[in-house]
């Protein structure tokens, strides 16, 4: 151990402390959804008492108390700001968080381990919005999300088209020539197959792109790099070795934004989900209603239902507003032809500004 190594460990610990502090602030904001008043003197007392109890070793109880008085003060300030809580699946730095930032530039972005946690959070009311990926232009439909969509009683209030750009990220002191192994989500690895092959890099699957970035920063395995988004480089202090390493430049993930209440503004796009009887022409009758009213369909997806072979639900998106008379007429014709029908929502689409690249592929 020398001074350089000790300092590196200190930096590492600071990162951990700040990451946990951020998590604590997120939880504080979440707690504010369960109470009416920001200030809760009884609870604050309780927190300070347990901090004093937790303090040990070189951390004196008085120091713990002082520190946490500041922390509580900051939590209170944040709670007063009334930020909307936007849930996404994955860790900080995930594509879902980037989509959330596009949907609501000034929000608190809350990571959720599973897609179902995003749905549960919205249903329970502690998340104001949830962002879930419904499809990717290369990878196709995200089936788990679509399954959850069928059963959940909320509204689609927006959509975000997120251009996905993969970056090769490594620790700041890694020589790119030493990189041998690249870890990332299997889908990201698959989308960069050409790049990995060109550089003779070994692809190793990891459960999540952002999770791989965090692991790299925390465990610092030698000769490793990860494929993740640009946001991860900032969050996990990684160096971007190469931007836009995907084999196909047009890679877009479509996210839908879910909330308990329908969108208040007039939208220009609608989503429905339905199932039909098992008879010849049942689905055709539904489609015909849209054709007759000259409504352009932007997505038609069939999702197998509940493990019963041959049973499907259909997701359908179309251009138009639920305020339009033609839309109402078309939907009135659709409903009798379905065995299940739900109007998911009417909303506006958020598309990203032209993605910045290094122009290498012009």
């Amino acid at each position: 151990m020398d001074l350089k190594k000790v300092r590196k460990q200190i930096d590492q610990i600071d990162f951990e402390i700040l990451k946990l502090l951020n998590r604590r602030m997120e939880m504080a904001l979440t707690s504010s959804k369960f109470k009416d008043e920001v200030a809760d003197p009884a609870r604050e007392k309780e927190v300070l008492a347990s901090v004093e109890g937790f303090a040990h070793g070189l951390v004196r109880p008085e120091f713990g108390r002082e520190l946490f008085q500041r922390v509580i003060g900051e939590s209170r300030r944040l709670q007063k700001e009334g930020l909307a809580l936007v849930g996404f699946q994955g860790e900080h730095g995930a594509n879902g968080e980037m989509a959330a930032m596009m949907f609501l530039p000034n929000g608190a972005y809350i990571p959720c381990p599973e897609f179902s946690d995003v749905f549960d959070g919205v249903a329970a009311g502690y998340l104001d919005y949830g962002l879930v990926p419904v499809e990717n232009s290369l990878g196709g439909v995200v089936s788990r999300v679509n399954e959850l969509m069928v059963d959940s009683p909320f509204h689609v209030v927006g959509e975000v088209m997120l251009p996905v750009h993969h970056c090769l990220l490594a620790l700041k002191d890694t020589d790119y020539r030493d990189i041998k192994v690249v870890r990332s989500h299997p889908q990201a690895l698959a989308q960069c197959r050409g790049f990995l092959k060109r550089h003779k890099l070994e692809a190793r699957p990891f459960y999540d792109t952002a999770g791989a970035a965090r692991m790299l920063f925390q465990n610092r395995p030698e000769g490793n790099a990860v494929i993740a988004g640009e946001l991860c480089a900032r969050l996990y202090h990684l160096e971007i070795i190469k931007e836009n390493i995907e084999d196909h430049t047009d890679n877009v993930t479509r996210f839908q934004v879910i909330a308990r209440e329908p969108c208040r503004e007039a939208g220009d796009k609608c989503s429905i989900v339905f199932s039909t009887e098992h008879r010849a022409g049942a689905l055709f009758d539904v489609m015909k209603a849209f054709a007759d009213h000259e409504l352009n369909l932007t997505r038609v997806e069939s999702v197998p239902l509940g493990g019963t072979p041959g049973n499907y639900v259909f997701f359908l998106d179309f251009e138009g507003s639920d305020q339009d008379e033609v839309v109402q007429q078309a939907l009135d014709e659709v409903r009798p032809n379905t065995t299940m029908f739900r109007f998911l929502g009417c909303y506006n689409s958020v598309a990203a500004a032209a993605a910045s690249g290094d122009g290498a592929d012009k």
Binding site: Y176, R177, R198, H199, K200, I241, K242, G357, D358, G359, A360, K362
Partner: protein, 288 residues
């Protein structure tokens, strides 16, 4: 000359290499830029200046082969990123040198044309690695190399699978010390006879003195060179490398005006009958 079935003249069509809109080997192409990429600011200033003056490609070293290990070795990957940024802004394609077989793949990700420097002309491992790449390569002539040795190195690259080789004369070592090297201009028409590959000239290294660059550049074009590669620096006194031979942007601009005039003149045969030399690439119709 033997064993030059790919690089030798043979029955091959003249090689024309497309880089974006440029047709190297068909159009006169002047490449300019700093010796080394020193910073984003320096590279941007120079890139803008050379683009304005009419350069068609940006040069800049990210990996520098230096005589002394204590001299500036280049910014490496960071330098490549800066070059990519300069390309995005100016639209100029980028040429940069690769020194190490381990870097070939990475440099290829950023550069439009790779360069093998004079010191690495006979680095056969590097030549074979570069031969696997899908980007054009500029092969500089080693400072002690014969024409046959040079073309054999081009053969190495082509044999490994990369047909897009550009030859570049950069001066050879002679007993003269006033100039850094002696620029061998007879190599240009000779290579037009011996090979089908485009021939460039680097008057900066060839002369090593800034006042010699314009006359040598003009002479090279008059002799039929397909293009030039020139070092330009907006503040040569602070340059990290080659400070005595870099042109100022305004000097480069004046030289470009002269080059344009010369190229215009050379399009018409000036010597009636007996000596009707017209650089082949400036001829109205190819008579070959």
């Amino acid at each position: 000359m033997k064993n030059l079935k790919l690089a030798g003249r043979g029955d091959h069509e003249r090689t024309v290499i497309e880089v974006g809109d440029l047709r190297i080997g068909a159009d006169l192409v002047v490449i300019a830029g700093p010796c080394s990429v020193e910073s984003e600011e320096q590279t941007m200033i120079i890139a803008r200046a050379v683009a304005k003056a009419g350069a068609k490609m940006l040069r800049g070293g990210a990996f520098k082969p230096r005589t002394s290990p204590y001299s500036f070795q280049g910014l490496g990957l960071k330098g490549l990123k800066i070059l990519a940024k300069a390309r995005a802004e100016t639209g100029l394609p980028v040429i940069t040198e690769v020194l190490d077989t381990r870097d070939v793949g990475w440099v290829t990700e950023y550069a439009d044309v790779l360069q093998i420097g004079a010191r690495n002309m006979q680095n056969f491992a590097l030549l074979k690695e570069i031969g696997k790449v899908e980007k054009p390569v500029m092969l500089k002539r080693g400072m002690f190399s014969t024409y046959a040795e040079w073309l054999s190195c081009a053969e190495y690259i082509m044999d490994a699978g990369n047909p897009n080789v550009i030859l570049c004369e950069r001066g050879i070592r002679t007993f003269e010390t006033y100039t850094r090297n002696t620029l061998d201009l007879s190599v240009i028409p000779s290579m037009k006879t011996l090979s089908h590959l485009p021939v460039f000239v680097d008057p900066t290294h060839g002369a090593g003195r800034v006042e010699l660059i314009p006359p040598m550049a003009l002479a090279a074009i008059a002799a039929g060179a397909d293009g030039l590669i020139v070092e330009v620096h907006h503040d040569p006194s602070t340059a990290q490398s080659d400070k005595d031979q870099a042109m100022l942007p305004e000097q480069f601009e004046r030289m470009m005006t002269m080059i344009e005039r010369l190229a215009e003149t050379l399009k018409e045969p000036v010597f009636n009958g007996r000596l009707d030399f017209v650089p082949w690439n400036l001829r109205k119709e190819s008579t070959e």
